[in-house]
């Protein structure tokens, strides 16, 4: 091997390895850039008005997003009530009871549902929850988000239930517990940290969804009483305000973006810390 070739190989080595480091650094710094930009632009607009006032007429200043914050919470509540139980129980089926072919079909269908673009879910929710009753509603928005929550919950429930060691199950069964009793009293509690974090992450995921809300929950400049009226939500407000020309609206969009991002990040970081406390690691 000639000296020149060695030098070439060595330099290529250093160069490429540095490049990969730069790439990783670059991607991570995007996260901090996003956070920084949102804090810089949105932090100053996070005043009391933002959290307590309703939107004011176009062109005026001093309005807030109180109704959108409550609206997003109501939508998440509905998504949780409608989607989480389905995901949990279906996950239990796949982990504990499933027959080979049927499980495969269910898993495949769940993956399929997971991959459906959120705008298409919005179309579906529009046809089943808006058209028949002829009005936009919080409920319809909750249906759309609830459907999106299901596949994420199924997968994480199944994964964490399966990770409970066989010895635990067998011990319970040896003591005379039936299969369902074992699941309820032994397996689920053991997997509870993972299952709960999976649910929280699913909710965090749909909290930021905009597209499916555009024609289900619509929007509302007032408070939305009950579940049958259109409702404002943080993501839709961010979208509406961002594409408009009013500077005041832009500032509010940044602030709302910061609030939304912080909520999502807290959910993700919090659940990860909870999990690593129990020694389990999760893949994305």
């Amino acid at each position: 091997m000639t000296k020149l070739r060695m030098i070439w190989r060595k330099s290529l080595n250093y160069f490429m390895l540095t490049l990969t480091g730069v790439a990783a650094l670059g991607v991570v710094s995007v996260l901090f850039l996003i956070l920084g930009y949102l804090i810089f632009n949105g932090g100053s607009s996070l005043n009391l008005n933002f959290f307590t006032k309703l939107p004011v007429p176009v062109g005026e200043t001093g309005g807030g997003m109180a109704n959108a914050i409550v609206g997003s919470l109501k939508l998440l509540f509905l998504a949780a009530v409608m989607g989480l139980p389905v995901g949990l129980i279906a996950g239990i089926y796949l982990a504990e009871f499933g027959g080979k072919t049927f499980s495969f079909i269910i898993r495949y269908t769940t993956d399929l549902l997971n991959g459906v673009p959120s705008i298409v879910i919005g179309i579906f929710a529009y046809s089943i929850a808006v058209l028949p009753v002829k009005h936009f509603s919080t409920l319809a928005g909750g249906v759309a988000l609830g459907i999106m929550v299901i596949p994420i919950t199924v997968r994480s429930t199944e994964e964490f239930l399966k990770s409970v060691p066989r010895s635990m199950r067998e011990a319970a069964m040896a003591l005379g517990a039936s299969k369902s009793k074992t699941i309820l009293t032994v397996v689920l509690p053991a997997a509870s940290a993972g299952v709960l974090t999976g649910m929280l992450l699913a909710l965090a995921r749909v909290a930021g969804e905009t597209a499916p809300l555009l024609f289900t929950a619509f929007s509302n400049q007032f408070w939305s009483p009950g579940w049958g009226q259109p409702v404002a939500s943080l993501p839709v407000m961010i979208y509406t305000y961002a594409i408009a020309p009013y500077d005041d609206w832009h500032r509010q969009a940044w602030a709302a973006g910061l609030v939304l991002l912080l909520l999502v990040l807290i959910a993700n970081v919090g659940t990860r810390l909870l999990l690593t406390g129990r020694g389990a690691t999760r893949s994305a």
Binding site: V56, P57, V58, G59, K74, F77, V130, L131, K134, H135, F136, F218, S219, N220, Q221, F222, W223, P225, G226, W227, Q229, P230, T240, I243, A244, P245, Y246
Partner: protein, 343 residues
Amino acid sequence: MKNSLVLVSLLLGFTLLAVAQGGTILLNAAGATFPYPMYSKWFNVYHQLHPNIQINYQSIGSGGGIRQVMAGTVDFGASDGPMSDDQIAEFKKARGMGILHFPTVLGAAVPSYNIPGVSGTLNFSQKALAGIYLGTITKWNDPEITKQNPGVNLPSADIVVVHRSDGSGTTYIWTDFLSKASEEWKNKVGKGTSVNWPVGLGGKGNEGVSGLVKQTPDAIGYIELIYALQNNIDFGTVQNAAGKYIKASLAGVTAAAAGAAKNMPDDFRVSITNAPGPTAYPISSFTWLLIPENIPDATKRDAIKGFLKWMMTEGQKDTESLSYAPLPKPVVAKELKAISLIK
């Protein structure tokens, strides 16, 4: 045990939220972005006068207003392009009743632009505007534009054309004018709330177009007057039918409506673009609320009728502060009578 208690009380709390607003009359409306600054002000003021009436208006574009009122998902719609005969027939077929148009204000669509280094008012001939939107005039220093603007140093930059990406009454007004101004436009593109644009970027709503024009150098876009004023976007004069170059103003819009005021058809659907007269602003228009003829819910019907009455009388006093022209008196008189048609 504790957890389920918490859950139950949360659920109760939420249901209470649902029931708490028992006495409020909630109306949902959607449509035009053209008059949105005016409507958002009106509905806000009206809510303060009548705290139990809440009119939630979403500006999704006139096309959206027509669609949603047809589907029945909103109580009434709003559009600056009157519904066509086909659309009215479709409405009848879908909902089994007719639909009424109620003019609310007069507004103007202006050619707004953002040319670095050029401030002040440009003059646009009818040929220039048609050419820009057809894509035949591509640079700011095209002779057709410089001819009308001697002394202005227009750059040789490409014109960034901005139009609406959504179904829009403002588009209807603009293309209605261009169809009258240019045979080529009439045959090639035509008029409507959503057309097959030869060139340009699409913005969503008057808001989106304003946003794009404001942020994109060398852009031109058509927006309602108030959007240009509220956001300090330059806009130009337009050549009217009499050949004069008029800048949009309350006087120009009112002059454009003069003829229609005298000869308003019973269904209030009328076009006042390219109106005759030396002072008329050529891209003016009425904008309408679309109210179904039959509203079975008595409280909703009375609320809507009450608002309409207020809008035509008290509400008209607020229009000038937002640069919309008030309705001509004969039109108001005719409309007040038409309210009784809502059953």
